[in-house]
C-alpha cells in the first residue's frame, strides 16, 4: 500500500454551536481527532456596555450591569453598587447587606446548578441537565418573588437593595434549602461519581497553579488548581466575615489537581457552602432599613477605584473612574470568563476535539461576560 496522504484540517466550531454556551467561535486546526490548536474568536456578543455606562449615569447603569453576566446578575449588580459606594463613601444598612448576600448566594446556587447541568449535557447526558434545571427553576421562583425578575434582576441599588424580603419569604427560602441539600447528594450519586462522568472529566485539560495565576484565572477555576483564594474570605466585603464557611480547593481525587473533574466538583462543593451561608444569613438577618439615602442626581467626587466581588464565575473587578459629574468617565469590568478564554488556546494543544467541549464547560465561560 502506498503511503497515505495526510494534511492538517481546519474546522470551524461555532458561532452557532450548542456546546459553546452562547455565541462563540473556535477555529480548530486538527490532525485527525487531535487538535493542534483551537483559536478562540470572540466579540459576537459585544454590546459596548462600558461605553453605555458613560452615557446613562450611575443609577441608570444598574439594569445594564445585569446584561454583563445574565446567569449571575446579582454579582454584577453588587460589583457596580459597591464601586459607586466606595467612590462616594456611602455605607449600606446592615439589613441591606444581608439582603444582598442572600440574593447573591441564591444566585450562585442557580448559576452553579446550570453549570453542572450543562456539563452533563455537553458530555452527552440529558438527565442531569433536567434535574439541575428543575432545582434552578425553584430558585428562580424565589428570586422572582424577591425582585420580580427571573434572570436580569436589577435588584440592587447604590446604597442597598430595592426591596425588602417579602412576608413569609424567609421561611420559604429555608424550606427550599432543606429540600436542596439532599438533592445535591442525589445529584452526586446520579452523575458526579458516575464512572462515565469521571472517565470523561478526570485528567482532561489540566491547569497547574502557576499557569492559573499567570493567565489570571479566577474563582472556581483558580481554586480547582489548588490555590486557596476567595474574595469573600481574603478581601472580605459586605457581611461575609460574619459567616462560617469553608473554601473548597481542588485536590485531584480522581486524577490530577486542576483537571476538568476538579473544576466540575468545585461547583458542587461551593453549592454546599452557599447553602451554609444562606442558612446563617436567613436566621441572623437584623431588622432595619434596606436602602441608604442616596441623592437621585448621584455625583461621586472625582477619583477612581477598583472593587472585587466573588461572583459565580470568580473574582469580578469593577474599575470606575469618576470626574465628579453625574456620568462615569470610564467603567471597566474585568470578568472571569474573559480570562478563562485566554487560556483555551494554550490548553487545546494536543487535546481531543471532543474534549474541547469538556474544557469550555469546565471553565464555565458565559459568552456575554467575555464580550460585554
Amino acid at each position: 500500500m502506498s503511503t497515505l496522504r495526510t494534511e492538517e484540517m481546519t474546522l470551524n466550531m461555532g458561532p452557532q454551536h450548542p456546546s459553546t454556551h452562547g455565541v462563540l467561535r473556535f477555529v480548530i486546526k486538527a490532525d485527525g481527532e487531535v487538535m493542534r490548536e483551537a483559536i478562540p474568536d470572540v466579540g459576537y456578543l459585544h454590546r459596548s456596555i462600558e461605553k453605555i455606562a458613560e452615557k446613562v449615569g450611575y443609577h441608570g447603569f444598574m439594569p445594564y450591569t445585569d446584561r454583563v453576566d445574565y446567569v449571575c446578575a446579582m454579582f454584577t449588580n453588587q460589583g457596580w453598587a459597591m464601586a459607586c459606594e466606595k467612590l462616594a463613601g456611602i455605607e449600606v444598612p446592615r439589613r441591606g447587606e444581608y439582603c444582598r448576600v442572600i440574593a447573591a448566594e441564591f444566585n450562585r446556587l442557580a448559576s452553579h446548578l446550570l453549570t453542572v447541568g450543562l456539563m452533563g449535557m455537553d458530555i452527552g447526558a440529558m438527565t442531569p441537565f433536567l434535574h439541575a434545571l428543575r432545582e434552578r427553576e425553584m430558585i428562580n421562583d424565589l428570586i422572582e418573588e424577591l425582585c420580580g425578575a427571573r434572570l436580569t434582576f436589577n435588584y440592587m441599588r447604590i446604597g442597598g437593595v430595592a426591596w425588602d424580603l417579602p412576608p413569609g419569604w424567609r421561611e420559604k427560602a429555608l424550606a427550599y434549602l432543606d429540600h436542596l441539600d439532599p438533592i445535591l447528594d442525589e445529584f452526586n450519586a446520579l452523575f458526579s461519581y458516575n464512572k462515565i462522568c469521571i472517565q470523561r472529566l478526570a485528567n482532561v485539560a489540566v491547569i497547574s497553579a502557576e499557569d492559573a495565576i499567570n493567565y489570571n484565572l479566577v474563582g472556581p477555576n483558580l481554586r480547582a488548581s489548588g490555590v486557596k483564594w476567595d474574595v469573600r474570605k481574603d478581601i472580605p466585603y459586605s457581611v461575609y466575615p460574619e459567616f462560617d464557611f469553608e473554601i473548597p480547593i481542588g485536590r485531584g481525587e480522581w486524577g490530577t489537581t486542576g483537571d476538568a473533574m476538579d473544576r466540575y466538583m468545585m461547583r458542587i462543593r461551593e453549592m454546599v457552602q452557599s447553602s451554609r451561608i444562606l442558612r446563617q444569613a436567613l436566621t441572623q438577618i437584623p431588622d432595619g432599613p434596606v436602602l441608604a439615602k442616596v441623592v437621585r442626581n448621584f455625583k461621586p467626587p472625582a477619583g477612581e477605584c477598583q472593587v472585587r466581588v466573588e461572583s459565580a464565575r470568580g473574582d469580578q473587578g469593577w474599575y470606575v473612574v469618576s470626574d465628579g459629574s453625574s456620568y462615569p468617565w470610564r467603567v471597566h469590568v474585568r470578568t472571569g470568563s474573559f480570562a478563562a478564554m485566554g487560556i483555551i488556546q494554550k490548553l487545546s494543544r494536543g487535546l481531543m476535539i471532543a474534549d474541547l467541549v469538556v474544557l469550555i464547560a469546565s471553565l464555565d465561560v458565559i459568552a456575554p461576560e467575555i464580550d460585554r
Binding site: 452615557k55 477619583g303 471597566h332 474585568r334 485566554g342
Partner: protein, 167 residues
C-alpha cells in the same frame, strides 16, 4: 504591604522613573512608559513584592492623553498595587508586558481594539471584540459611530428618544 509602601519601595529602586503617586480612594503610581517592562519585572521577581498576577489591564481616554492602567496582585503576599502610564493621544505606544504575565495578551488586545494603543512586541495584536474592518476605536471620547456597517443601519428610530437629543 500597603500600596503606599510598595510605591516607596519602587521609588528607592527607580528614583527617576516613578513620576507621581496619588489618587483616591485607590492610590496609584504614574510611571515612565519607557521603563514599564523593567518596573514590572522588578515587581514580579522581587521576593517581598512577588506580583505573580496581572489582575487587570485597561485604558482610559482623558481627552488630552490616554492612560494605560495596570492592577497588579500578589497571591503569595495578598497585596495589590496600581500602575499607570500616560501616553499621547496621537499614536500611543507602550511596550507589552505579555512576556511577564500571559494574561496581558488578551487584555492588551482589548485595549488596542477599543482605545487604539499599540503594544510594542505583542505576539498577536489583532482586534478582539470589534470586527476587523471597524473604523476607529469606540472607547475614545471623540469616537463617532458610523451610520451603517456593510449596509446594516446602526440606528433605529425610537418613538421615545429622538436621535438628535443630547443628554
Amino acid at each position: 504591604m500597603e500600596p503606599v509602601q510598595i510605591y516607596e519601595r519602587l521609588k528607592q529602586r527607580f528614583p527617576e522613573q516613578i513620576l507621581e503617586v496619588g489618587g483616591k480612594p485607590d492610590v496609584f503610581a504614574v510611571v515612565d512608559p519607557g521603563a514599564i517592562v523593567e518596573i514590572c519585572e522588578f515587581l514580579r521577581n522581587e521576593p517581598e513584592l512577588w506580583f505573580d498576577c496581572l489582575s487587570n489591564e485597561t485604558g482610559v481616554d482623558y481627552k488630552d492623553r490616554i492612560e494605560v492602567v495596570y492592577h497588579l496582585f500578589s497571591y503569595r503576599h495578598r497585596h495589590g498595587c496600581v500602575l499607570k502610564v500616560k501616553l499621547p493621544r496621537e499614536n500611543p505606544q507602550v511596550a507589552t508586558v505579555e512576556t511577564i504575565w500571559r494574561s496581558a495578551n488578551w487584555m492588551e488586545r482589548e485595549i488596542f481594539d477599543l482605545l487604539g494603543v499599540t503594544f510594542l512586541g505583542h505576539s498577536d495584536l489583532r482586534r478582539i471584540l470589534m470586527p476587523e474592518d471597524w473604523p476607529g476605536h469606540p472607547l475614545r471620547k471623540d469616537f463617532v459611530e458610523p451610520q451603517e456597517y456593510h449596509g446594516i443601519s446602526t440606528v433605529r428610530e425610537s418613538p421615545i428618544i429622538r436621535l438628535d437629543q443630547k443628554h
